[in-house]
């Protein structure tokens, strides 16, 4: 009964202040958030540019770009070398030309030689030998990235530089040009770009993989299982 009496009163007064304000907030929020999201649809392109800016190196290049794997890496990170030895090196061979594999620099501050190593890779890239130097840096990890007793992270730049020059000769680089390129601003710019893009994509540790733009977060803990998980994902994307 009281309800019946109240209704006409409310009807005469119109909707309450609370209702109006709530509706205003909801409509504004939906309009602003939805609008921002919709008008920035092209931001998805921004993501792909952040993942793989023009001129990025590739360790494998497919013709159709159906599957693109991007790895943010640090040459002096122990987990990265473990991934390289046990996962990516073989993956690169097994899926060569069937997937596009883009390495990006994400040198971490805790590794004093990560930036010099990234410079060496970029400098080799300027002579068209990025891939060879990339593998040489990881294959020769023990000779520059860790101390001679193999127990801790090395900070010995002279020893590392000597190792990088040895790798440079092995992969057939013009050594004078290689030395000059190590301090080139373009080389540094490529590294800075990797760091900035990685941060933008929320990368905080290495290695971090993105498979077709989606961050790969393995559920497995053993490296063999992670390898299987990554391969299964790539196979799914290739089939899909």
């Amino acid at each position: 009964m009281s309800r019946r009496n109240r209704n006409p009163v409310t009807a005469r007064r119109g909707p309450s202040l609370n209702l109006i304000l709530t509706a205003v907030v909801v409509v504004l929020a939906v309009a602003v958030l939805g609008g921002v999201l919709l008008t920035n649809r092209s931001a998805a392109d921004g993501t792909s540019a952040a993942l793989r800016p023009p001129g990025s190196h590739t360790l494998s290049q497919s013709t159709d770009d159906k599957v693109t794997v991007v790895e943010f890496l640090d040459f002096q990170c122990p987990a990265c070398v473990a991934y390289h030895t046990n996962i990516t090196r073989q993956l690169e061979q097994d899926y060569q030309d069937r997937f596009t594999f883009v390495p990006r620099h994400f040198p971490l501050d805790m590794h004093p030689l990560a930036v010099p190593a990234a410079r060496a890779a970029e400098a080799a890239g300027r002579q068209g030998r990025y891939r060879e130097m990339h593998h040489a840096l990881y294959d020769g990890f023990d000779s520059w990235a860790v101390t001679e007793d193999g127990r801790s992270t090395s900070a010995d730049l002279a020893r590392a530089t000597a190792a990088f020059e040895r790798f440079a000769s092995q992969v057939g680089l013009d050594l004078d040009r290689f030395r000059a390129d190590l301090s080139s601003p373009k080389v540094q710019a490529a590294i800075d770009q990797g760091r900035a893009d990685g941060r933008r994509l929320g990368v905080t540790s290495t290695p971090t993989f993105f498979v077709n733009g989606v961050r790969f977060q393995p559920q497995a803990t053993s490296i063999a299982d992670i390898d299987r998980e990554l391969r299964a994902l790539i196979d799914r994307e290739l089939a899909g």
Partner: protein, 181 residues
């Protein structure tokens, strides 16, 4: 305590209890078998696994959802008791407000951790965020007569609160949301 608030405690507390229980069960399953993938791990962004495995998931040395199971059970019980005719004394209502205040502070700390440290959203946790905010807000305006002017705009405050969190979630996982479009 108003009947509306009692209903909110019953329904909101019930949803929170379900979410906290689900998370506890997922945690047990994961402890039993470390390779177990939680049912709420849908993709890299919507992922309970990465949230549950984080250091922030055990702030007090035991899994957070246990706090939820205990806390939300009290909220539901209070709601049902009030609907059944219980009229809580002043100290009880203040205690409920203090409890929901602790809950809402904790939830906001967890939101920050989820968005800026863990970089993943866990669906059950989001349910807890969604119910804890109104539980705190409406318990507060109901408990303190001095706040009665705010009752005139209660829905707008809640909507604004949700909108700010939605905007933060949108910004933090921007690349994910745009990839869905």
């Amino acid at each position: 305590m108003s009947r509306n608030l009692a209903w909110l405690h019953t329904v909101g507390g019930g949803l929170g209890l379900i979410a906290a229980t689900a998370l506890t069960l997922e945690k047990i399953a994961r402890l039993r078998d470390p390779s177990y993938v939680p049912t709420c791990s849908l993709n890299p962004v919507l992922s309970c696994g990465s949230v549950m495995d984080s250091a922030q998931a055990e702030v007090f040395g035991f899994p957070n959802p246990l706090l939820g199971v205990a806390g939300f059970a009290v909220v539901v019980t209070t709601g049902v008791a009030v609907l059944a005719g219980f009229s809580p004394p002043r100290w009880y209502r203040i205690a409920m407000n203090a409890g929901t205040a602790l809950g809402v502070v904790f939830v906001h700390w967890l939101i920050a951790a989820s968005l800026y440290d863990i970089h993943a959203l866990c669906p059950y946790c989001v349910v807890v965020w969604i119910v804890t905010i109104p539980l705190f807000w409406y318990t507060t305006v109901d408990t303190w007569p001095v706040l009665s002017p705010l009752r005139a705009v209660h829905g707008a405050v809640l909507a604004l609160w949700y909108a700010v969190i939605a905007a933060l979630v949108l910004a933090a996982f921007w690349d994910y949301w745009t990839s869905l479009l």
